[in-house]
Homo-oligomer: 183 residues x 2
């Protein structure tokens, strides 16, 4: 129910083709709302049917034609209306939590490896976010009104990754002991 709106936000910033959107979702917005190109094409079709966007075929040289989507007035209205509706809390789904509960029934060494892998993933993502923050928002106190949303989203990402790392550390300490953080 919200991929539509994530696409509207992205298109409102800059009109784009399905392919462009898929790449943007791989890079920035996608860190907080994943979508495959198939899903994006499908939803774009639905959105065009609803009159939220219009498309225009653009010929390019050196590469195939593309279909550029532009947000309509109705699309902007829908986006505004959506922001004024209370958001639904997305259900938590933590595979890690289920695995932890399965500890006495499963392969503890493999679970420890899995936690280590998750910790590495969190660290990598955190490094990426910190780099983005330093690059795009060098002076956080001076962010403009237009940049504010992006900055706050990035802050949320940073906080979440740091928390993920802290949780993994607590788990590893309990499972491998005080000397278990070697390697």
């Amino acid at each position: 129910m919200a991929l539509e709106h994530a696409i509207l936000v992205s298109l409102a910033e800059k009109s784009a083709s399905g392919y462009d959107l898929a790449r943007r979702f791989d890079a920035s917005i996608g860190h907080f709302w994943k979508a495959s190109h198939q899903q994006i094409y499908k939803v774009l079709g639905r959105m065009e049917g609803a009159g939220w966007v219009t498309s225009e075929l653009v010929a390019q040289d050196g590469r195939p034609d593309k279909k550029v989507y532009v947000v309509t007035a109705a699309g902007r209205d829908e986006l505004a209306a959506w922001t004024s509706r209370p958001s639904t809390v997305e259900p938590t789904r933590s595979e890690m939590a289920v695995k932890l509960r399965a500890l006495p029934l499963g392969d503890e060494a493999a679970i420890v490896d899995d936690v280590r892998a998750r910790r590495r993933a969190h660290e990598q993502q955190l490094a990426y976010y910190l780099d983005s923050a330093a690059r795009y928002y060098p002076r956080p106190d001076d962010v403009t009104r237009d940049e504010l949303g992006g900055w706050l989203v990035l802050r949320g990402g940073i906080l979440a990754e740091q928390t993920g790392i802290a949780w993994c550390d607590e788990i590893l300490q309990r499972l491998t002991g005080p000397a278990g953080d070697e390697r």
Copy 2:
């Protein structure tokens, strides 16, 4: 791909009917893996077909019969095998993040209200977790091997809720100013 395993874990702790499981999912495990009763019944049927569980009709007095599910050896094998497979990172989906990016295009007052509501929800959930921690794990350093998983999951919940509150506070401070945390 993991509701099956959440159910196996729950059934391994204690055999139960679909109805019992639905209530457990409302209470404890469900905080980390939501499931409706319809979905639980559907999956239980599939699991019985796969031979992971068997069911037995149990007559009760004062209430309708129930179908009690018991984990089989194959079910335990599957659970063990699952724990040794690396977990897939569940895609992040933050409606809040999308709304923040839509700030200049939407209804800012409504978004602020929404953040406040989320903050309250996080606080409520945190209070619930802290209460559970005090009640079931009064001495965290002494948790037994069997309790360890449950304790670590609860810790993850506590950390996540605290982070959620911290993020909301950052957002509110930026959107309503230093005096905006009244009420």
